[in-house]
Point group: C2
Chain length 416, copies 2
């Protein structure tokens, strides 16, 4: 018997039949003795439909206050329908909009941050044996205006509720049955991880394994809410995301997974003066263009000159190349070199924190596969390389093999 938050995304509640399927799943959980708070998104397609209507009204700028009023209806429809389906099954249930359960946020419409939640009415319902169904993605600000948390914000709503209610677990139901060592479409031997740490999950998520919203993972980590990713449609235990617990019986895996990102492009500003402020001189105006920069790398200069390299999203590549060319003389750069046929490949694992030599094993493996490394960056629990996009699959499979990720028993530290 546990006190759980269960969150279902748009695909899981995408039709009347799927909502009934979710209701059945909840009925089973309730009958097994769990107390349940359920968070749901808008039915898939609904948010896009509403956004299209809004665009028709305001072709130019969108009024964010009114957009939030509009979008919040999507989840409100789902909570009502799910409660009806639950009652039809004989489960007592009660729906709450974000405003009704006072998910208080700041007033940043369309990207609001949760400040507090009024847990009393929920706990009251739980004590009465009810299943509580809360609209995800939405809240209310101090002046009573409806706010939304941004796309994917339902994950954040779920984690915030689990934190406020001190639930045993926050379960995120999706269309995948957990977090994998790498993308199974690239490496068929990819294996579902039973556990992963918040830090690893953040690195995996931000690198393109888009199972969970980064914000939700951060939030869960901050409030130490055990997070579980599992499938709505396939039974299973999914993947549990927690802090690496020192006294856990489970030994730490050296490497948890391989993430990659196909959407990047590399830009080098070559032969600029190696002087203080050059990084800001290059990146400041790029940030002003609202373009996000991922990897940044500057090597030791020679003869007072250096090469400054960074990656951006491929969609922004041409814009930034044009922009830098227009500023080339101002920057005093010898040349601007770009390549949008690259990918980023990363090994992730908290195990590498305490074990040297992982990087060299990685580089050796890729070298033996004939893969040239164009950039290398490392963090505490991650080593990333930028390579030619044609070598992505080869690199993923070679590393998956080298670090025994297909093996169930790699949950032990591999010695050097």
């Amino acid at each position: 018997m546990a006190f759980l938050v269960k969150k279902f995304g748009g695909t899981s509640v995408g039709s009347a039949d799927r909502i009934k399927q979710v209701a059945k799943l909840l009925q089973n959980a309730k009958q097994s003795g769990d107390d349940l708070v359920v968070v749901v998104s808008a039915m898939s397609g609904e948010t896009n439909r509403l956004v299209a209507l809004a665009r028709e009204m305001m072709p130019a700028v969108v009024d964010v206050r009114e957009l939030d009023v509009l979008l919040a209806t999507g989840e409100q429809v789902t909570i009502a329908l799910l409660c009806m389906a639950l009652k039809e099954l004989g489960c007592d249930a009660r729906s709450y909009t974000g405003a009704q359960v006072k998910i208080l946020t700041d007033n940043s419409h369309s990207k609001a941050r949760i400040l507090s939640i009024d847990k009393e009415p929920i706990l009251e319902d739980i004590n009465q044996g009810r299943i509580v169904v809360v609209a995800g993605f939405q809240g209310v600000d101090e002046s009573g205006d409806i706010t939304t948390l941004g796309r994917g914000g339902s994950d954040t709503s779920a984690v915030a509720l689990a934190a406020a209610l001190e639930c045993d677990e926050c379960q995120i139901f999706t269309d995948v049955d957990g977090v994998y060592t790498t993308d199974p479409r690239v490496e068929s031997r990819a294996r579902r991880l039973e556990r992963i740490t918040f830090e690893e999950m953040l690195e995996m998520a931000s690198l393109g394994s888009k199972v969970l919203q980064i914000r939700a993972v951060e939030f869960a980590g901050k409030y130490n809410v055990p997070l579980r990713v599992l499938s709505t449609f396939t039974p299973g235990d999914g993947t549990l995301i927690t802090y690496d617990n020192e006294d856990s019986s489970m030994e730490q895996a050296l490497v948890s997974g391989i993430a990659f990102n196909r959407d990047e492009a590399q830009i080098t500003v070559a032969g600029v003066a190696d002087k203080p402020g050059i990084a800001y001189q290059i990146l400041g105006p790029i940030a002003d263009l609202n373009v996000e920069v991922d990897v940044i790398l500057q090597n030791i200069g020679e003869n007072g000159l250096t090469d400054f390299t960074f990656t951006v999203h491929r969609d922004d590549f041409q814009k930034i190349m044009d922009f830098l060319h227009s500023r080339q003389s101002e920057l005093g750069a010898a040349s601007i070199i770009g390549n949008d046929r690259i990918v980023k490949l990363s090994l992730v694992g908290v195990g590498m924190r305490s074990h040297a030599g992982i990087a060299s094993r990685m580089f050796k493996t890729l070298s033996e596969a004939g893969i040239n490394l164009r950039m290398i960056t490392t963090s505490e629990i991650k080593i990333s390389v930028v390579i030619d996009e044609n070598y992505l699959e080869l690199g993923v499979r070679a590393l998956h093999e080298e670090f025994d990720l297909a093996e169930e028993n790699n949950n032990t530290v591999v010695s050097q």
Copy 2:
């Protein structure tokens, strides 16, 4: 310059283009100096779509609390879209759900009654020069649950707001350009009335001229809110509904209009004992069946026996006939006689209150047209007759002619 509530129904806001058209209309009104509170319904078709979804979830009984949560999204979508359209035109506007402007109701889900409205935020916005857009049809009960006022409740929301805010007029925009002397499809010379009293409007509405919700008219009468019916798509002054103002410069029309109802059926319980309690003995069990009885008529009896006649909706006719036949011996009735091929035809006008002879003119006119009267009932401002359905059009036209309803200048009492 006036302070107005303007209400637009589902057809008026039935598409993105129509919402833009309404926004344009509001912009013009605002520019002419009026202060505006706007009440809108769900886009036409939306409520039916939501009800169908609800039925799919709960084929048997519907949970009214959750149904209200679901249905309230319909109007919420419209308020947001209309505000966006207004802002696109450069008009400052702000939307409010029923809960946000605290349209406090009792907790009778799906047919809640308005108790009070928090007018402060609205007046604040009006003072700031904003157009305030409020979701019709919905409110919130004391415990914070979303309630709805029942179909057509947006009219009631509009009147309640006009009453609370002490507006100069509550304008109901529809697809007709006012209240007519009779149905123009039956009498092509039917004329739009410039004014009509609340009482007359109630008689006209309840008799089948379904321009306005009866509840909204009653509510407007109770709080003395001048009500105007006018068209969203055709410019014009519509029809103003007010109390008959004694010192008005306008003289009172003798007869304002002719209403009729094609949906009735007549049932006679013949030859029952003419004793106290017989009416209740017959109608009590019918009320228990949730069947509404319209006209009730009992004539003086002979030999201690009487005939008891009443009308019901045609849909209920067979059910009630079967029911009465099954109780015939218990009631001691000689026979049960039914006719579902009848219509009710009514003359309405506050003028007839102070002028005798209207009834006899009506009967003479119908008699000269060869129409047999099956039942007659009268009230202060209305005379109704039940006739064979085949004579409906003939009767309407004859009366329209007799009482000069096609003439603009019939706004004077016709002498006998």
